[in-house]
């Protein structure tokens, strides 16, 4: 036998051997895959069975929500009128056009939020007299992110500007600008509970006892004895109540 034939036989044997080894290993892996799929398939079947009724339930939920949305959008359109789409746009950017399309309207959507703060826009829609058109819609936002309340109040006309409102009165022991007038009879009550004038009690001399200080201070006058028809309440006794 020639050497070439021997080599060819050897190579054929190697090829068959390689085929056998790799194909047998592959077949073993395929059996494992088959066993694994047997485990997976029932679980997938459960998933399919459990998700089957979801479509109907979700359709019913969506139907309910769409009904409520349509009703509320109709109400919003009825109450806010021409500013309805702008209000929607200010709260949900990009939804103003969709809102107009859903309610069957057309036109340009002006974002109310670019002119007013959200609260001012809502107040304007409620008829609180916000100055519509205080700024151009294509201009910079009027609201100030840092002082938003002041920016909103600046939209309202007020002589002297938003910060010109009178300050609260300062009340204190020695207030420089006390809002109260000085009493003419400090510490005394000119009228009693019934509205009658009270006799002015003699004031003590300044410095205390001027007669030497030996006598004890005079006792306070005794209260008048209670009478049967004494009025204990001022109700009904004032001139305008008679």
């Amino acid at each position: 036998m020639k050497i070439q034939v021997a080599i060819i036989l050897l190579e054929v044997v190697l090829i068959v051997l390689a085929l056998a080894v790799y194909l047998i290993a592959t077949i073993i892996q395929l059996f494992k895959i088959n066993a694994g799929l047997d485990v997976v398939l029932p679980a997938v079947g459960e998933i399919v069975a459990k998700t089957a009724p979801i479509n109907g339930v979700l359709d019913a939920i969506v139907k309910n929500l769409v009904t409520a949305r349509d009703a509320l959008e109709g109400l919003h359109l009825k109450k806010a009128g021409a500013d309805a789409a702008g209000l929607v746009e200010s709260v949900f950017p990009g939804e103003g056009a969709n809102f107009l399309r859903r309610v069957g309207r057309s036109g340009k959507v002006v974002n109310v939020g670019t002119v007013y703060t959200r609260g001012v826009g809502i107040l304007a829609s409620l008829g609180r007299g916000a100055p519509i058109g205080a700024a151009h819609t294509k201009g910079p936002a009027v609201r100030d992110p840092k002082y938003s309340t002041t920016a909103a109040s600046m939209l309202y006309p007020r002589p002297g500007g938003a910060r010109s409102r009178p300050k609260s009165p300062v009340v204190g022991r020695e207030a420089a600008h006390s809002p109260y007038e000085e009493a003419l009879t400090p510490g005394e009550r000119p009228r009693d509970a019934t509205g009658r004038h009270v006799e002015a009690a003699p004031r003590a001399a300044p410095g205390g006892q001027a007669d030497g200080g030996d006598r004890p201070p005079a006792a306070a006058p005794a209260p008048p004895p209670p009478t049967a028809n004494r009025i204990t309440s001022a109700k009904g006794t004032r001139p305008w109540e008679r």
């Binding site: 090829i15 390689a18 892996q29 485990v39 998700t51 939920i61 109450k79």
Partner: protein, 87 residues
């Protein structure tokens, strides 16, 4: 022409074919080997997903709630329609 040349050519061809065939078979085996771990992972995920979907029944309760909430919202809208002036 030497009569042994065809034999030598066959020897060379077979010598080239053997590594090529081995590499191809090795690739097939490698691909087949990589599948079982993934199937095991899928089995675990599918079992967990099937267990999670046990809560789907609650959707029926949610549907009922949403129906009631929708009714309440519509009633509230009707009240607003009366309370607020039209544009």
């Amino acid at each position: 022409m030497d009569p042994d040349i065809p034999l030598w050519l066959m020897v060379i061809v077979l010598a080239v074919v053997i590594p090529v065939l081995a590499s191809l078979l090795k690739g097939v085996l490698k691909a087949a080997t990589s599948i079982p771990p993934k199937i095991d992972a899928i089995a675990g995920v599918a079992a967990a997903a099937s267990k999670d979907l046990d809560a789907v029944v609650i959707l029926l309760t949610t549907q009922n709630y949403i129906s009631q909430i929708t009714g309440s919202v519509l009633n509230y809208g009707g009240s607003l329609n009366v309370a607020l002036p039209d544009y």
